[in-house]
Structures are given as C-alpha cells and as structure tokens.
C-alpha cells in the first residue's frame, strides 16, 4: 500500500440498488403482469397498473473500455432516462416506457457497433472467461474465441431463427468458469503436467498439491536432492487441477491443449430438469486468432438443431427426443470411445437396458 489513506473503508457489500432503478421500474416493482416479445432484441413488459416498459438489449464484448461504457451511458441518457442494466450474459439493456424510443435506441446502439438482439429464440451472447488476457492458468483466449464465434453467429443473435434460445459458453481451462450451456466450448488438456523440479518446493505447498489431484496421481519424491512431486502418468487424466494449486505443475501446452465441445447443458427448470452438457467433439485444435475448427463444429450443431428442434425445445431436449444416435448422424460428428464416461458415476450412464435404435 503506497499512498496515505484518509478514507475509512465502509464494508458496504453490494452497491445500493435503490437509486439505480428506472422510475417506471420503481413504480411497478413486483407488480408486473406479463410480457411480450414485440421483435428481436426487444421486450415489452406490462404492469398491473397498465404501465408499459420497453427493453432493448444489445450485445457487448464484455471486455469493455471506459470509452465504450461512456458511449453506452450517452445512449442511456438520451433514450432511457439515464438508467441501464446488464444481463448475466454480458448484454446491456435499456428501458423506456416510450415505444417511439425503441427504434431510436436500436439505431443508436447499432451506430456504436452494438448489435441489438439476444432476446427470444436466438443465440445470446456467450458467457466467457478470462483467457490469456488475465487468467494465470488459461490455455487459450476466451474473448478471442467468443469474438470469432459471434462474428459467425451475428445474424443468429439478431434474429429469431432457432427453436429456443441457445446459450453458449467458452472456457479457457477444464475448470470451466463459463459453466454449463447448450453449447459449451472448453479447453481439454491431453498431456500430463510438466514439473519444474528445481523451483517447485520454493513456490508451492507440496501436500496441498498432492491433495488436489482427484485420482491420487501425485506422489512426493526427491529430485536432485530437493523435495518435489512425481506424476503417475498412468493415472493422470490431464485435468489440470494441480496446476490451479501450483503454477509449477505446467499443464498448458501450445499444441496439446485442445478444445472439446459439450452440448445439452441446461440450467433452467423449464420442462426438463437442469442437465449437464455431454461431450460430442474433442481434440479440436486451439487455433488462434479465429479458431475455424471450433466454429465449424458449433455451426454444424446449430444447423441440425435449427432444422429439427421444435418450439420451446432446448438443444438438449431436442437430443433427448431424437436420441443421441441421431444427433451424431445429423451433425456428422463421431461418437468416440473417450466419450464413454469413465469417472465416478460412469455406471449410471451406461445403457443398462435393451433399448436401442437401429
């Protein structure tokens, strides 16, 4: 701490939201009756009082500059009474009771390069993570992958071409801070960690690293007279958990850290229960700056879903209906041995029945 302090910290927790609410929101707080989707990118909420509130949603790159934020504030000041909010998927929303402002908002937003969309049956913005820009353990740059994909899915964001909304997430390591999603694009390492035996004992608490491994593949050892660790390559499944505990367990590799694609993740309770995504493509190259191979697979999946999904049916629910065999056929992806679960609850995923499609 270099500078002198004159201020005594107030441990206030979250920002007090009361002055951040639009007046129409305040007035009708908890008294909304229903909503309509008048057009892509726009919501219309009708309150019990009869009040109406329009919302216009636009995509952002998430890694924003103060310049962009100020531009956004300008738009909020001009068309949305000085209020705005963000969504959990890094979209920004402007609210106005005034229907005429809707068109103006859309124009203003597109003028500063922010596409309007993300509402209703479309691809919303991608939930993503830090990547090379900031994290200490990433194998790729999430923001770059996202930019490449959203360029391709630009029209999908702005229009209602899909059976239901598709949420995509991108994560730069297997920890997957981006979470479960209809389509999750996640790094998967394919080699065990490489240990720098010279420095490890200075930098890391060895027992903690040993404890972190889910398959007990790490053992204490001594190398060149110094305490170090040994990875049993037969057991190790390249998860990188140890790397999170100790930067010397280098798991990232420019060639051998790959991408896997997981589909059918779902967080909502609508219709089916929340579900985990399942692996349908693996070993896709980590290919900056545009990751064409990942893009291609995402496209195939979306195309098949677009063609066959039914209204309100989420991607995973479509697969549940048509069956995984058909999914692989329709996307021209290949079910590989590695896609058979081998972890703790693997048995519960085996087909313990004679139910089979031909």
């Amino acid at each position: 701490m270099s500078s002198e302090r004159t201020w005594k910290t107030i441990e206030s927790g979250p920002y007090d939201y009361h002055n951040a609410l639009h007046p129409v929101v305040k007035k009708n707080y908890g008294k909304w009756k229903y909503h309509e989707l008048p057009r892509p990118g726009v919501l219309k909420h009708i309150a019990e009082s009869g009040d109406v509130l329009f919302t216009v949603r636009a995509g952002t790159p998430r890694q924003d500059s103060v310049d962009l934020i100020r531009r956004i504030c300008d738009i909020a000041d001009t068309y949305a009474d000085g209020y705005l909010r963000f969504t959990v998927r890094n979209n920004v929303e402007f609210m106005t009771p005034d229907e005429e402002k809707v068109e103006l908002l859309i124009e203003a937003l597109e003028k500063i390069g922010l596409p309007v969309g993300g509402i209703g049956p479309c691809v919303s913005n991608i939930a993503h993570t830090q990547g090379w820009l900031h994290c200490d353990i990433p194998a790729t740059d999430a923001s770059g992958v996202v930019k490449s994909i959203m360029d391709n899915l630009f029209e999908e964001f702005k229009n209602w071409y899909l059976p239901s909304k598709v949420r995509i997430s991108t994560s730069c390591c297997a920890i997957n801070c981006g979470g479960q999603a209809d389509i999750a694009i996640v790094v998967k390492h394919t080699r065990p960690p490489r240990i720098n035996h010279e420095v490890i004992a200075n930098i890391c608490e060895l027992p903690k690293v040993v404890a972190r491994c889910p398959v007990a593949a790490i053992r204490p050892t001594v190398v060149n007279g110094k305490p170090s660790l040994l990875v049993d390559n037969k057991k190790c499944m390249y998860c990188g958990a140890c790397f999170g505990a100790c930067p010397v367990m280098e798991i990232n590799h420019p060639e051998h850290s790959k991408f896997g694609i997981w589909v059918g993740g779902k967080n909502s309770n609508a219709r089916s229960k929340p579900a985990l995504g399942c692996l349908v493509a693996q070993n896709l190259p980590n290919n900056p700056p545009r990751w064409p191979e990942v893009n291609e697979v995402v496209g195939r999946i979306l195309n098949a879903y677009k063609k066959e999904g039914q209204p309100w049916e989420r991607l995973g629910e479509w697969i549940d209906r048509v069956g995984w065999k058909h999914f692989f056929a329709a996307t021209d992806l290949v079910f590989e041995k590695d896609m058979i679960d081998s972890y703790r609850h693997a048995r519960t995923t085996f087909n313990q029945s004679a139910h089979v499609r031909f």
Binding site: Y15, R62, L84, V88, N269
Partner: protein, 412 residues
C-alpha cells in the same frame, strides 16, 4: 443457415494502422474484423487515446500469447487495507520481454443487485478507473463482479478508497464468501416469487466480512433467481441457490386464457404447452386448459408460454438448493433441493433465511476438508448426516427416488 465455414470479414472501424502509440499486433488485428463488437478494437482505441503504457504492454503480451499459444500471467497477493480478498493479482512471467505489462491486477467490485445502474454511478466509476487503472472493465465476471482489469499494486488502495466513497465495495476471492448475482426479478419480471434484489442486498451485506476476509474451507456462492427459470444459473453455479417458488396453484386469468387460446389455436396449446409439461398434468376440458396442481412440479413452462394468463400462485417464497458447483475434481454438481419452500415476506423471514444459511455454512466449515465445496462435503459424508447436522427433516423432495441399495446403517 448458420455460416460454418468462413468468416464474414466485415470490417468495422479498425485502429490497427492509424495509431502511432501501439506496436504491431498482426494476430490480434484479425479480431478487429467481423461484425461482432471487438474487444481488440476497444482496447486499442483506449490505449491510443490514453497512451497508457500498461495497455500497450498488455496488447504486446497478448499478441505474443496468440503467437506462442501460451499464457504469461502469474498470480500473487495484492490486497486492500483490512481485506484479504477482492484483488486478483497478475504479474507478467515475461516482464523482461514486455516490461510495460509487469503488473495487471484486477479489482473485483460488487455490482448492485440485478446489475442495475444509473449513468452517473457508471460514469463516476469510469472516471476513477481511468485515473488509477487501465480503463478496461469487464461487465461482468461470471460470478457477477465488475472487474476493473489492470492496475498497479501501488495504486490499488487509493483507487479502492475512491470507489468505496462512491458506494462500491470489493467482491470475493479465495476461500471466502463470494460476490453474488440476482436476476432482474421484481424490478422487471412478472415471474419473481420473492424480492431477489432485496434478499441479495441484505444477505451480502450480512456476509460482507466473510467476503473480504477469507476464512472458509473454500469458496461459497449465493445466487438469487426469482423463479425456477433460474436466470442466474444458480443451480449449477452456486453453493446455495435461492430459487423463487410458490406453493399453491398456478394462478390463471381465465379471460386472458380464453383470449390466448383464441389467438393461438388449440393445436398450439396442445403441442407447445400440454405436450411439453414434464409431468403431463395439463388437460384440455371443453377448450380450456386445466392443471392438476398437485402434480405440477413448478417447472414454469406453461407460465412461460402463456405469460399473459398464467402466473405463479399467490403463496410465494423461495426454495433452497445446496451444493451446486462446476467441474473441478468431482464433476459438475447441481444444487440439491434442501428446503422446498421458505416464506420470504418480512424482515424476520430475511433474518431466518440468514440464520439458516449460517447454520449450513458453519456445518460445512466444521466438516469439510480444505478446498472442498459444500456439495462435495455433503456427498462425502452423506445427505442424512448433513440434515442431522443442521437439524432438518428428510423429505422426498430432496431426492428423485429412495435408495436402491441396502448399504446404510439402519438402526432399529
């Protein structure tokens, strides 16, 4: 058709050649192309305008990462006075190559519940941040923080003091209570079964100390969704998912219902609503839709489709699901239904909710291993042991079916 092969390559305003301040970044420049708003365009614009060396260094290092497919940040410890968390420290491992990027710490700042803003507070934040830091802000991190990305250790405290005066506080990191998010809730959503913003606000105020001074076995996250649509992804992404719930029958505005059916047709009703009810409890009776509410599992689907005529019942509150987390070590787990209905109307209800949460968190801290999330602890010691520990009764709502193996201690 989704384009799957090639990039569209629409050019937006590229700053890659105009600037004089920045070094060449040929790979990053590829990300200036295409219609989606480009973070590279944004950072470059900011760098060119502010001429902050840190930003140039970060771009240089990022370009190098793209070329070598390798990350170069390492963690460390930077904190604000009196705090143990809230700042994510990043130093370059190759500061010799890119000395301008040798420090690039992030301040995690707790947002307002519901991610609501007025332009004044945002502009002020931008100004302070431009003054002390890089001017780069992530809105928002996956946990919900405003991430002020890029500051030197020396400036952390003065920056924090200034934003703290403006009403902001730091978020969580490490083995601590983490920053929370709440859905837009009653502010603009007709489905909200409790006041997500208020509960988020009160709960996180209560736990502020645990956010700032890590003292748990591992991280603990709350997320507040106003209904089972779970717009904050609480079930898979928080240790304690708070999901709006109602206990009585779905409320139906029969007139609106008739109107809806008239407009959309019976076929649509049957195919899109009745046929998609997970427990198939909706029937058609003389052209009207009838719900057997005893077998409705509160999935929200029919309400979502027919929002103008259906809504959650009037006996509203919340459900608590415990133990959600993502992949690390055990594979992702969804939160388990622990309390199917908790009334949430008064201040006493909030206090009771906080008390129950604390009991659960205490049980976890007493019974967990290092770096073990509460869901892992429950899985390891058993849900029954957890219920006994916190003094809750078992209910069939907690499981999808009773056990199918005899491997338990039945004491008669």
């Amino acid at each position: 058709m989704v384009q799957i092969k090639k990039n569209i390559g629409v050019e937006t305003k590229s700053t890659s050649c105009g600037g004089t301040f920045l070094h060449p970044t040929p790979m990053l420049d590829e990300l200036e192309k295409g219609p989606w708003p480009s973070f590279i365009v944004g950072i470059k614009e900011l760098a060119e305008r502010t001429r902050k060396p840190m930003l140039r260094g970060v771009l240089d290092q990022l370009e190098y990462s793209y070329q070598t497919k390798t990350g170069y940040w390492e963690g460390g410890l930077v904190t604000a006075y009196g705090y143990g968390s809230g700042v994510i420290s990043r130093r370059s491992k190759i500061a010799d190559k890119f000395p301008e990027a040798h420090e690039f710490h992030t301040l995690r700042v707790q947002p307002a519940p519901g991610l609501h803003y007025n332009t004044t507070m945002l502009r002020d934040l931008c100004d302070t941040w431009e003054k002390h830091g890089s001017g780069l802000i992530a809105l928002h991190g996956q946990t919900g923080d405003i991430m002020l990305q890029g500051i030197e250790e020396a400036k952390v405290q003065e920056c924090f003091d200034e934003i703290n005066q403006a009403g902001w506080d730091l978020g969580g990191a490490g083995p601590a209570m983490r920053t929370s998010v709440s859905c837009v809730g009653p502010a603009r959503c007709e489905h909200a079964c409790y006041d997500t913003l208020q509960l988020h606000y009160k709960v996180m105020q209560h736990f502020a100390g645990d956010v700032h001074r890590p003292q748990y076995s591992y991280k603990f996250k709350f997320k507040f969704s106003g209904c089972p649509n779970d717009c904050t992804n609480a079930i898979f992404r928080s240790d304690l998912a708070v999901i709006g719930m109602w206990r009585d029958a779905i409320a139906m505005d029969t007139e609106a219902m008739q109107g809806w059916i008239q407009k959309n047709g019976v076929d649509f009703l049957v195919n899109t609503v009745i046929n998609r009810c997970p427990t198939r409890v909706i029937s058609l009776a003389e052209g009207m839709m009838v719900i057997d509410n005893a077998n409705c599992v509160r999935c929200m689907h029919c309400i979502n489709v027919i929002t103008e005529a259906l809504s959650p019942g009037r006996e509203r509150g919340l459900a608590i699901l415990l133990g959600g987390k993502n992949t690390l070590k055990v594979g992702a787990m969804g939160g388990t239904m622990i309390v199917p209905f908790f009334k949430m109307e008064t201040d006493e209800d909030i206090a009771a909710f906080i008390r129950l949460s604390e009991t659960m968190i205490e049980w976890w801290n007493d019974n967990s291993f290092d770096h073990e999330r509460i869901g892992e602890t429950i899985e390891r010691v058993g849900l029954k042991q957890f219920l006994d520990g916190v003094g809750l009764d078992a209910s069939i709502d907690m499981v999808s079916r009773p056990r199918s193996n005899p491997y338990y201690k039945s004491e008669s």
